[in-house]
């Protein structure tokens, strides 16, 4: 496993989160992302929109915890790119548009992206999203505010969070802190640090009163990276994914990328990315 000594990340503590979504708005503000059209709610509780998208890099999800038909808790979770230590999305990208930086963030570069969407299929958390609505579509996702942290600022969402639910810092330190919290709160926390080992570890560490699986995260992920750091990356993608990729028709897709036809297709898809 690679050293994480200089990598930055988040400790997201669901037991401190109040689901206020200041983080969600701060992310849109910093990244100048447009609002999505929503109606009522897009998921459990107050969730909106329905999913991450090229316009929404982070999303608060709500779960009512019911035992014996009685509500016992209401838990909130911040969904976003986990910034894997060895990201499958990066190794899946055939043109190097996605990059893992030394400071931790996994970033993308519009100029390089050809819109093949392999990263979407490779990511175990279903994070990268496609600009369905654009005539020149790219892949979008949380960058861990790499443009801010390069300039010594905390990520926008972490800065906006008033409750202490998001702690930004060095991953090593955050991991220690997470372990400390778990130890001192055996009744408060579900005893697992999601992101410590999953797919080789991620820069975002999550602790909560309930397992993250309850928010739709995959359980039992391998401790090894899904990327085997091989190049080309396609090898690391599970067979089913390759099949889907082939069905999409990679070449045709690239050729069509700039054509109007795609924008029409995307319009018909709305924002269901």
């Amino acid at each position: 496993m690679k050293t994480t000594i200089n990598q930055k990340g988040f400790l997201i503590d669901g037991t401190k989160c109040i689901g206020c979504r200041a983080c969600q708005i701060a992310c849109k503000q910093w990244n100048e992302l447009p609002a999505e059209k929503t109606e009522f709610f897009g998921g459990d509780g107050y969730q909106n929109p329905a999913d991450l998208s090229s316009k929404t890099y982070t999303l608060i999800k709500y779960r009512e915890v019911i035992k014996k038909d009685k509500l016992v808790d209401w838990v909130f979770h911040k969904d976003q790119c986990q910034h894997c230590l060895e990201p499958a999305c990066v190794s899946a990208c055939i043109v190097g548009a996605l990059q893992k930086t030394a400071a931790g963030p996994v970033v993308w570069e519009d100029r390089r992206c050809i819109g093949c969407r392999y990263c979407m299929l490779a990511c175990p958390y279903n994070i990268p999203k496609f600009e369905w609505y654009s005539i020149n579509p790219d892949i979008k996702k949380c960058t861990l505010c790499s443009d801010r942290i390069e300039n010594g600022l905390p990520p926008a969402c972490a800065k906006a969070c008033s409750t202490g639910a998001i702690t930004y810092g060095s991953r090593d330190e955050l991991l220690k802190e997470a372990k400390k919290r778990l130890k001192s709160g055996p009744d408060t926390y579900y005893q697992h640090i999601y992101g410590e080992d999953e797919v080789g570890g991620t820069c975002v560490l999550n602790i909560s009163s309930i397992p993250l699986e309850e928010f739709g995260y995959p359980g039992n992920l391998p401790k090894e990276s899904l990327s085997t750091t091989t190049d080309p990356a396609m090898k690391s993608i599970p067979g089913v994914v390759i099949g889907l990729g082939a069905a999409l028709g990679i070449t045709a897709f690239i050729v069509n990328k700039h054509k109007k036809q795609l924008s029409e297709e995307s319009q018909s898809q709305g924002d269901q990315s």
Partner: protein, 847 residues
Amino acid sequence: MTNHWIDIQHSDVIIIIGSNAAENHTISMKYVNMAREKGAKLISIDPRFTRSSALSDVYAPMRSGTDIVMIGGIINYALQNNRVHKDYIANSTNGSFLINPGFGFKDGLFTGYNEAKRKYDKKTWGYQLDARGNPKQDKTLKDPNCVYQIMKRHYSRYTPEMVSGITGCPVETFKEIAELYTSTSAPDRVGTIMYAMGTTQHTVGTQNIRSYAMLQLLMGNVGKSGGGINALRGESNVQGSTDMCLLFHILPGYLKTPQPKDVDLAAYIKHYTPKTNDPKSANWWGNYSKYITSLLKAWWGEHAQKDTAGGFAFNYLPKREGWMDHITLFEQMYAGQFEGFLIWGQNPAVGGPNVRKERKALEKLKWLVVADLWETETAAFWKAPDVNPTKINTEVFLLPAASSMEKEGSVTNSGRWAQWRYASIQPGDAGWHGDARPDLWIVDAMFKSLKAEYKKDPGKFGDPILHLNWDYGTGDKVDPHREPDVHKVAREINGYYIKNGKPAGQCISFGKLKDDGSTASGNWLMCGGYVNWSSKEGKRSDTHYVKNEAGEFSNRYARRINEKDEPKVQKLIAAGRTTGLNLNWSWCWPVNRRIIYNRASVDLKGRPFDKDKWVIRWNPNLKGGKGAFEGDVPDGGWAPGTKYPFIMLPEGHARLFAKGLRDGPIPEHYEPVESPFGNENPLSGQAVNPVILQYYKGTKVQRELNPIGKNDKYPIVATTYRLSEHWQAGAMTRNQPWLAELMPDMFAEISRELAEKIGVKNGQKVKVTTARGSVTCYALVTARFRPFDLVDKNGKKIVVHQIGLPWHYGFQGIATGDAANILTSHVGDANTNIPEFKAFLCNVVKA
């Protein structure tokens, strides 16, 4: 707040009741979380499991409108089990005071009730006095007429079973929170109560707050770090606006609005200056004459002389007769009693109670001026979906106002800290929004135009306008390119000495104010916030240093020194002083005291009850061996034991028993005007607060559009609330696409049980109807609401459903929806007439 936001971190037990702090005061949860990290327990009491409840250790459900039962139950638990702080009660409260033996309470009514007048004669509500005219006391708290024993008898009826039957909170849960909270009666433990509009907006709103304050006094929690009684103000500067008198019954600094019987200044001062014969009582309001005279000097300057207009121009002040609250104002408007109206930073067509009636009232106006950032529903009432604009003759003027980011000045937060903020952009700068103007410019221009009219024709009573002391540096003419000087305003609010008719330096504190016309102060409480510069104030490079044509000043609101950077303070903290007072960050009224009533946090020798996080303590070595308090600014510097701690009251002791209220000296539970028990109250024969205003039973015009519903037709309890994602009546957030994305539509939260009963699924639409009107909205079906198991007066078990509705929505902007206040009524609290927004009856069907 008696304390302040940062101080919440020092609590051992925190109750959030009548508030959804996580949702509406998100920053408070930073400090709640800090306290929890140190082992504090959080109790959430709410009809609905909220975002605040999500962080709680114990959640206690409570039907809307039953706070006094819940808290009265905890008080009973404390008194029955001796879980109270007895020394504190004896020395700092009126628990030991003997009450007139004629005082009594029977079947829901205190002695002296006059049914015809719907009013109490309070003759029997007084103290027994000794020969010197001071209240008699029994420090053992055993005399049957002492307040402590009266309370014990009164609340003995509030048993856990009674609490459960009325509030719907299971007996076990109630006992758990009662036990947990009364653990703070130990001198070295402390608890706090965080509350907001869920407490106040009831027909018993004032008594709800009283019940919290009384519990805090019994626990000995007032004056201590981590304690107090903490009103979380719902807007960034609502504390400031209250301090500056944006209420009908007070002038700046909580001086009383004169009434017709206050014929001149002498009569007014006599009316409102409390007296005491007890030398140990500081009786701070004994200084009343100095504060009102200085206010009159600030307002009418040279024209306020000893012999002008009732003395210092006193009779220039408008006088009020009776109620002039929001509901009354709109009732009068509806009845056509006035023709013009100015609305500023308010959107009553969404936020007012009974908006169908209030929107209709706006139609009766000849003209309406709205100053706001957007065209609100109030400005656009004539184009509401259900009205015909051609039938409305009101002329509406919309004045574009600057936002808080676009103007400079002070903002006073809930903790009474007045903090200076700067304009990020000036009128005329690139990016400035159209013709928008800061409020100060608008009011300055408006006044100058008005004065010009009065100059032309002063009419019957032009002097108050023509003589007003008004010069904020923009000349006589309205000039769109000249901004009034906000520092001049701040200097006037602070106050200054007057010599030879001219300002002669800033007053340093309200102790210097006089009633002979030699001082002026726009608000005595703020005196000390904006003073002359001296080397003691800091360095000229500090943020609070101000230099202008009038001289050099210390704008203490702009101080930005964190106590972490103050070595002297760190020494005290190492010796146990509490953290977070930050005495050199901003400025706080009164006299920069961060935790008020702090003299109650020490014993008669000046030793803190709580050694680990004391607020003040007596240090005999200070002042060259004379001794002084150190730590926070004390409630007066007198040696410990020489003055009583509650200096604003003539008896110097906090009032567990308070004669001043209209509806009783101790809180008693009455049902909301619309109650699921119908006309019954399980606790007494008196269903509803007996002294509330009853417009719904008034004249024909008052009764119009204001019917009250009964539980047969409207069996479901409803309440309203706010969301993190929207702000008040919505203009600032429903016009914001990102926030509209999060909360796009009006919805009602309903329990799974009710949803099943009416056959509605999550995301389908429901129609909610009260006696006043209906709203149609989405149903959010949730386990966070549960039906309440109640017990009625006859001991019969009944199941009562409750729903909740956000009140932000209206027909303007991006995120629109029916206004929840279509459902609410023109019924208010007995003492303030604040509307009963928080508990009413409805019916819900699938739409």
